[in-house]
Symmetry: C2
Subunit: 496 residues, 2 copies
């Protein structure tokens, strides 16, 4: 008999039942060719004794093997490894001749890109200053899981035996109508809403629907780099307008519209990315004039509307008199702690109908389960409650960061407290080049961007977005403390 | 005092705790302007009496309201509606002047499309013949939910405070390497795998990376219509090759490659869509020759590999000697009962690196939680067990459908039993036009395609894919019974 005690290792701490562990291990041994087709397995009594288990556990494992077709039960003889297994054997992992180790034999297109600092997983004791994300530890994932579980257990959930609409779940779209009406004063119906994987897909879809190669697109300077890259990838020519404390220069937008046949304007009205400035109410009014006059298609990316501390949010362009020209984009991704990405897009119905066709070719549609879950959490007030609570929390964190920056970094940096959102735009004095600061900080356990990505399309800004929402009091203090140390040491080197 | 008993309706059967219901209702009344800023709410003792509740419940509700900033607690006076609420009020739902009711003021691109029959939700008693989906009732969603819940409860899950890679979760990609090695004999590493939202996104990404306007793409005739549309949308010119019982005509592929500068071949080796034929082993060998000779980029869409009944699957082209030219696409969407869409793509690493940039612009990346969940279910054998079990079940259903079609529909239809997959390609005699059959069947409670979408790019086929996997014995019998009735009645009309 084979040394089954050695071959079948059992982990009694594992979540998986012991009988399944045994069945899986047998399946692996069969697959690997250790147990050959036609081999008679030991009797359940014998194996139970060898493994120190109850006989019933071994019988259950054999039943599982038979139901999975790895083995056959022979009356009065026992259980035999199946003889008709598919002829798919694992190759050696050292196979020298993988066709994928060489490069591709074909040519392919090149895609514009920026280098972003990326950290997949923190080491214990490390801190990260991110671009402005929510605190995952606060995300309402327990409520999310509870709702999802309740949904899949409902019999009528299973009546949806088919693919749905590329516009997204009707239930979710109806909830979004309600949500956008009472939070943003939008006037719309479910035909005006499409759900997307996240705001980025909404941006891509809109751009792909509007742009042809060579079309002009107006963007801020600086601007959200993934939007810039997306428009460039689709062949657009970017026209940049300056951004100041009141947001993008609307007079400049008007001038460009008179000088060029401009196809689209991309605007971030709340907490412009990266600089966090908010487009003033006055400029909004003037921008609505420009939009109507030039029949300018506007992509309004309002990713940060739900987070406000210093004042109430200003209503989006989409709620104003824009003649059907504003395509409005938002997202729940941050609220859900990046676990589930979920965005939406508001636009005139005929435009969305055509866009749904493109969505279908790119992605068919969204996921049923998360869409229905989000709809339920919007309906029962969970999202609303969560937003209230996190606004309170992030407000405190913003204030704490402001104080820390003032007290500890003094005139080494420059910033304006943002009215809302999750990040402070922090510009470093040019004697502290961020490419060096970031390296030094990392060696001290603080991971941060070196600022390069924010300069895409403009000159180097020597600035980062300091995401404060995901760091608690202790972490903010520690992060600013490390920055203080780095800058002080650099200054000493500089002074020598 | 306001009639709170009428205003605050409580549902004791609801999942939501009573105190939250009360808090939400108060928040709504505040939002709607029924409770004005500055209004003093009734004392907790008084309200508890009116509503017939314990006083602690009302106190909890007031605490919730205060923590959400809807109200302020005044020492020794009670709880007051907040006076500093954001000035965002719901508009009337009858608002006549929505800028979205008019069409858009801007022009936009047109997207190629086909009309598909679509049924979002079945009425009780109705049956649907779908395109070939898994049985959602059998999907391992309980295991899925259990694993997801365990994941979000683990502290280290929250250490991923940042966006990850557009290639997908490394953990999932490692599991896919293992899975693809032992099920398909592929030889690859995690650098060769990208996760996608579903197979459709993998198709779109590949096509967008390879194609320029005017490029030639070879496809079968007929072919999966969403692939055709995707290539057309990207500006490709389609060259069609015939399909017979052994799959696409490989000689014809070779001839086209000699006559044109062909950029890409799209092939579905197992259970070609729509006709379900499998590309024979001999043609695969010859196709590998053609691929190497012409350095032809091949998009191998093997969406149905995991489901085989009559014989073992034939190894994919991707596991053969293709010189790095085969891009291999698969999916777990059907297995997961369409609740979560999850696909993958295998290709040479330098190609995937560039493709990750495009994915970033389209969609940033996948969802962390589902990707980690799928990785865990691959690792612990759940997916493997589920596939074994559903292969057994769908095998029985295929056999039952074959018998039903032979016994009940006789020479009114033509079909070949598929070797695997989830659908039988069913061609109706031309005296039964499917556009009429589908209408008649719907009136009898059987929803089915009228076959139009399968004819995209070819002549009308008067055929449908009869998805058998999602229907149990009773349902298959009922569906074929209705079809029998429809065809018999049509024949009588025809004979008159």
């Amino acid at each position: 008999m084979l040394p089954y005690k050695t071959l079948i290792a059992i982990d009694r701490e594992a979540r998986q039942p012991v009988y399944q562990q045994i069945a899986n291990r047998f399946a692996s041994l069969i697959r690997e060719g250790v147990l050959k087709p036609g081999l008679l397995l030991p009797g359940s009594r014998v194996l139970a004794l060898q493994l120190g288990l109850h006989r019933k556990t071994v019988v259950a494992a054999y039943d599982e093997l038979v139901s999975q077709d790895w083995a056959t039960a022979l009356p009065r003889k026992g259980v035999m490894v199946a003889t008709n297994l598919p002829d798919v054997k694992p190759r050696s992992f050292q196979a020298p001749a993988s066709p994928y180790t060489a490069g591709p034999g074909f040519s392919f297109n090149r895609i514009p890109s920026v280098v972003t600092s990326r950290y997949d997983r923190l080491q214990p004791g490390q801190l990260i200053i991110n671009d402005g994300f929510a605190d995952m530890r606060e995300a309402p994932l327990e409520a999310w899981m509870k709702e999802s579980r309740a949904l899949v257990r409902r019999p009528r959930y299973h009546q949806r035996l088919t693919y749905g609409s590329a516009m997204g779940s009707l239930h979710l779209r109806q909830q979004l109508v309600h949500y956008l009406t009472y939070t943003r004063g939008l006037s719309l119906s479910a035909d005006n809403v499409m759900t997307t994987r996240g705001a980025q897909m909404a941006i891509y879809l809109t751009a792909a629907m509007l742009l042809k190669k060579g079309d002009y697109v107006i963007v801020g300077s600086p601007n959200y780099f993934y939007a810039d890259l997306c428009f460039e990838q689709l062949g657009a020519r970017l026209l940049r307008v300056p951004t100041d404390a009141e947001g993008i220069d609307v007079e400049a937008v008007g001038r460009l519209c008179r000088a060029h046949k401009v196809k689209m304007l991309y605007v971030i009205p709340h907490h412009h990315h990266p600089t966090t400035v908010t487009l003033s109410a006055e400029r909004r009014m003037r921008l609505l004039d420009v939009i109507r006059t030039h029949r300018l298609a506007v992509l309004e990316d309002d990713y940060d509307y739900d987070y406000h501390y210093s004042s109430a949010p200003i209503l989006p362009l989409a709620s104003g008199d824009h003649g059907g020209n504003v395509i409005y984009v938002g997202s729940f991704t941050k609220l859900l702690g990046l676990s589930i990405r979920s965005g939406f897009l508001v636009a005139p119905a005929p435009f969305l109908e055509e866009m749904a066709r493109l969505r279908k070719l790119m992605d068919l549609q969204g996921d049923n389960l998360p869409e229905e879950t989000l709809a339920a959490l919007l309906a029962d007030g969970t999202i609303d409650r969560h937003l209230k609570k996190s606004n309170k929390l992030y407000h405190e964190r913003r204030d704490q960061l402001t104080q820390l920056l003032q007290n500890r970094l003094g005139d080494k940096v420059r910033f304006t407290e943002p009215a809302g959102g999750m990040a402070t735009w922090l510009t470093f004095h040019k004697r502290y080049p961020l490419t060096q600061v970031a390296v030094k900080a990392a060696s001290m356990g603080l991971l941060m961007s070196n600022g390069e990505q924010y300069g895409h399309g403009t000159t180097s800004l020597n600035a980062i977005r300091f995401g404060f929402a995901s760091l608690n009091n202790r972490e903010l203090t520690k992060a600013v403390g490390i920055l203080e140390k780095v800058l002080t040491q650099s200054a000493q080197r500089f002074d020598k």
